[in-house]
Amino acid sequence: MEITIKFTINGKMVKVEVPPHWTLLRLLRERLGLTGTKEGCGIGECGACTVLLDGMPVNACLVLAPKVDGRSVFTVEGLGSRDALHPLQKSYIEHGAVQCGFCTPGMLISSKALLDKNPHPTQDEIKEAISGNLCRCTGYQQIIEAIEAIDKDVRG
């Protein structure tokens, strides 16, 4: 049995059929072809599947798909394009914040959620905001620098 849900994905309204027990992560990856959002653990411990739900960062692996009916979901695919990168994407590249890249989409979304709410975060606030996103390659330092640099850009 499948149910029909309507929601906004990266600014566009979609209507999809989905089995009610599917997670938002599975819906994004398997029905909508949005594979930028990654599954690293499936139980909400690694943050690789972080997306925005009505502007709030959530683990898409913990949200049941029917729950997003009538709401707004934002993923890495909505962030920027090849020709028009989001400032965070640019900053991540410039600061060496990307190594294997598997945690990157979720990390970018958590960074965006932080800056949307708090454009001038302190280093501790940045660490707190990305503390649910595990990264095994970078040791986080260059990611933190990439986010801090945005703050500086905004302040000019």
């Binding site: 690293g40 991540y92 060496g96 989409p105 970078t138």
Partner: protein, 750 residues
């Protein structure tokens, strides 16, 4: 065309920030069948029967495979091939694969997997290496439970200890550590247009995978194609076969695309781990701090299969001295089979474990002699003309002294206040950890090959079989090619890590790709330049000797206006200009009895200083700062090098304080903790560039060195803070509290 030493954007960065890099689970295939592995629930047992009938009846199931379906060699492994892909008649550890299900949906595959009934007859099992080596221990493999015994003998340790004014002897223990690469293993397989069994998945070595899969399917090498997908980390865990053989077996039989995705739980339970080592270490030194002798006994647990056990056993022994010149050395290193999870390669191949031991010893000697920790290290540090424990005389690029001096300078400028009167239960401490690390495989040939092409349309292509697993080798190779060819980086296309298009570059391991594949690329470029000069000589009617290559052009030595861009040489000659490159570092085999020889062509060196704060009431250790000084030869991409260092520090901190895989217990990030953004210290990297004459632009390597000195520095800092040493990793809350209690007991006794 300056590219080396310049911080250009990482070439794979754009795809990755867009979320468009294709990792194992992102690969698409035309309605693939989903695979699921059935695994052993017993540590050691005979398989009496495998009942698959019920599983076959599940709606959507295409086929169930067992060992009987394997056409070729059902055993894999880097050196000793003792690990079955599907257990034929016996399992040797929990998690051993027993059967494989292919079904139209994941749900059907899972349901069928549950319905496969394996009847076991339990065998006595052994879970400690000491037990495994006893005379009547249950045999795990036919040739006995001792995988390897390796010795290093230099000088006369008896005489050395006699000469010593102080001796220190302790035993150190480490445990299983998981790579915890963020991407769970996954991949697809299909028959390509040429009928080749093609596997696409994350890996650290496509050409090794190809050999294993071909032998497994009894196909010629050309019948198998391995393509590396975007790879979400490796750290050694993807040097061994993970999903390749399962995928290939199903695609080979069913002639349909197949797909597998491991859960995180499965990754924890079935992939390799860092070898637990038990190290008994005795050191002797004179009053002035000069080391006179060491005697070291290493016993490792390779688990149920060999994997990289021999490599780790040998490398541990070779690195037992640390970066110090010691005249008398005796090391015995053994690796035993047990029915525990199998240990494999993990960032450092045993050297992180050894560094924990030798750096603790240095600290204990410094205390016994009343010397400064850096001073005693400097007194013994390897330098030009030093002879290593294997009798190799070092000649160049020996930066250990410099890394120590840089750390000392930093320390002198930033004295710490140890006691906080507001919080007397918080103790601060600082500690030093140093290391050396031989670049490339130990005492064996480990060549890399590469090709450079410029075609008549002007396309410039670089071919490398090396797998970039995030560390940035693709970027570094293109920098090397761009600078030495004199052609802008964006105009060079890199064709990479696909066995159908590239040749063997060896594994992305042992911190070897920059040094070895970088050199292979330089050699390919040397040859393509020669080729361009040869062709230009015909086009221009000038003798080859009168021409030279500079900045992308063939120029005349005599006539300043005569100059042909290399693409024009290709265009006008109508030929593809091609240069083949190979590089194999100069090493000698180690003597099987004494371990003497020159196992590596070059070594990296590093020193970390860690500053910690220990809460003596809870046992919590906060690492405040790590000053990480690294001799990398030359930083071809400084930002990548920094990234390796900060990442290595984080992983080293996990190794020191929190990471411990308990077999049969935890299988998620809920219990297996790795450092988060809130745990990490401030990292202050200091680059020391001691030019390596044989390195590409002077470079060596940094991937593993970044991790190795961190845990020892932290453990020494904890000892400095609380006045009591911890000899077993990880130094978790319980062990720290126990050490605090021990210290208090000693004080109240006095």
């Amino acid at each position: 065309m300056k590219q080396v030493g310049v911080e250009i954007p990482k070439v794979d960065g754009l795809e990755k920030v867009l979320g468009q890099a294709t990792f194992g689970a992102d690969l698409s295939a035309d309605s693939p069948l989903q695979l699921r592995v059935v695994r052993s629930t017993r540590p050691h047992a005979k398989i009496v029967s495998i009942e698959t009938r019920e599983a076959g009846k599940v709606d959507g199931v295409e086929r169930v495979f067992t060992a009987k379906d394997i056409p070729g060699r059902n055993s894999i492994g880097t050196i000793t091939k003792d690990q079955p892909v599907l257990a034929p008649d016996r399992v040797r550890s929990i998690g051993d694969p027993v059967a494989l299900v292919a079904a139209r949906t994941i749900g059907a595959a899972e349901e069928a997997a549950k319905k496969i009934a394996v009847l076991y007859e339990d065998l006595p099992s052994v879970s400690h290496p000491e037990e495994a080596l006893k005379p009547h221990a249950p045999l795990i493999h036919q040739n006995g439970n001792l995988l390897i015994e390796f010795h290093i003998i230099k000088g006369d340790v008896h005489a050395g200890f006699k000469e010593a004014d102080v001796t220190v002897e302790e035993t150190y223990e480490t445990t299983w550590v998981d790579h915890a690469y963020m991407e769970p293993d996954a991949g697809i397989s299909y028959l390509d247009e040429k009928g080749r069994v093609t596997v696409v998945c994350p890996t650290q070595n496509v050409h090794y995978d190809q050999k294993e899969v071909a032998a497994f399917l009894a196909l010629p090498l050309e019948g198998v194609r391995i393509i590396q997908s975007a790879t979400g980390g490796g750290f050694g865990g993807r040097l061994d076969i993970t999903v390749q053989c399962f995928l290939a077996l199903a695609a080979f039989h069913l002639k349909r695309p197949v797909r597998i995705v491991y859960s995180r739980e499965e990754v924890f339970q079935v992939t390799s781990k860092r070898h637990p080592l038990k190290i008994r270490y005795r050191s002797g030194a004179k009053k002035d701090g000069k080391l006179t002798a060491i005697e070291v006994e290493i016993l490792g647990d390779t688990g149920a299969y060999a994997s990289y056990g021999a490599t780790v056993g040998i490398r541990s022994a070779v690195h037992a001295t640390g970066p110090y010149e010691i005249p008398n050395v005796k090391v015995r290193s053994r690796m035993a089979y047990t029915n525990n999870p199998w240990s494999g390669a993990m960032r450092g191949f045993g050297v992180p474990q050894m560094a924990f031991a030798h750096e603790s010893q240095m600290e204990l000697l410094a205390q016994a002699l009343g010397m400064d920790p850096i001073e005693i290290r400097l007194k013994n540090a390897l330098t030009a003309g030093s002879e290593t424990a294997t009798g190799q005389t070092l000649v160049a690029s020996i930066g250990i002294g410099q890394t120590l001096r840089k750390v000392k300078e930093w320390e002198d400028r930033h004295p710490i206040v140890k006691i906080d009167p507001e919080r007397p239960y918080m103790k601060k401490g600082i500690g030093i950890g140093s290391m050396w690390y031989g670049i490339g495989n130990t005492g064996v040939a480990n060549p890399s090959t590469a090709q450079m092409e410029i075609d008549p349309n002007g396309e410039v292509r670089l071919f490398s079989g090396a797998a970039d697993i995030g560390q940035g080798s693709d970027t570094v190779f293109l920098q090397i090619a761009s600078e030495s060819l004199g052609i802008p980086l964006r105009e060079i296309r890199l064709i990479r890590a696909d066995t159908a298009l590239t040749t063997d570059a060896g594994a992305t391991s042992a911190s070897r790709q920059t040094y070895i594949s970088g050199n292979a690329i330089l050699n390919a470029i040397k040859n393509i330049k020669q080729e361009a000069i040869k062709e230009a000589s015909q086009l221009l009617g000038v003798d080859e000797k009168g021409l030279f290559y500079e900045e992308g052009k063939v120029k005349s030595r005599t006539c300043l206006t005569t100059s042909l861009p290399v693409w024009e040489v290709a265009k006008r000659s109508g030929k593809i200009l091609r240069g083949e490159g190979i590089f194999d570092p100069e090493t000698t085999k180690l003597d099987p009895k004494t371990g003497q020889g020159a196992p590596y062509a070059t070594y990296a060196f590093a020193t970390h200083l860690a500053e910690v704060e220990v809460d003596t009431e809870t046992g919590k250790v906060k690492v405040i700062r790590v000053v990480a000084s690294h001799d990398v030869g030359r930083a071809i991409h400084p930002k990548n090098v920094m990234g390796q260092i900060t990442g290595g520090v984080a992983m080293g901190m996990g190794f020191a304080l929190m990471e411990e895989y308990v077999p049969g217990g935890m299988a998620s990030f809920v219990n297996y903790l790795i450092p988060t953004s809130k745990d990490i210290p401030e990292v202050i990297p200091i680059l020391v560039e001691e030019h390596e004459p044989s390195g590409p632009f002077g470079a060596k390597g940094v991937g593993e060195p970044a991790l190795i000195p961190c845990a020892p520095a932290i453990l020494n800092a904890i000892a400095d803070a609380i006045g009591e040493r911890i000899y077993q990793l990880p130094a978790n809350l319980e062990r720290v509290l126990e050490a605090v209690r021990k210290k208090k007991a000693v004080i109240s006794d006095q």
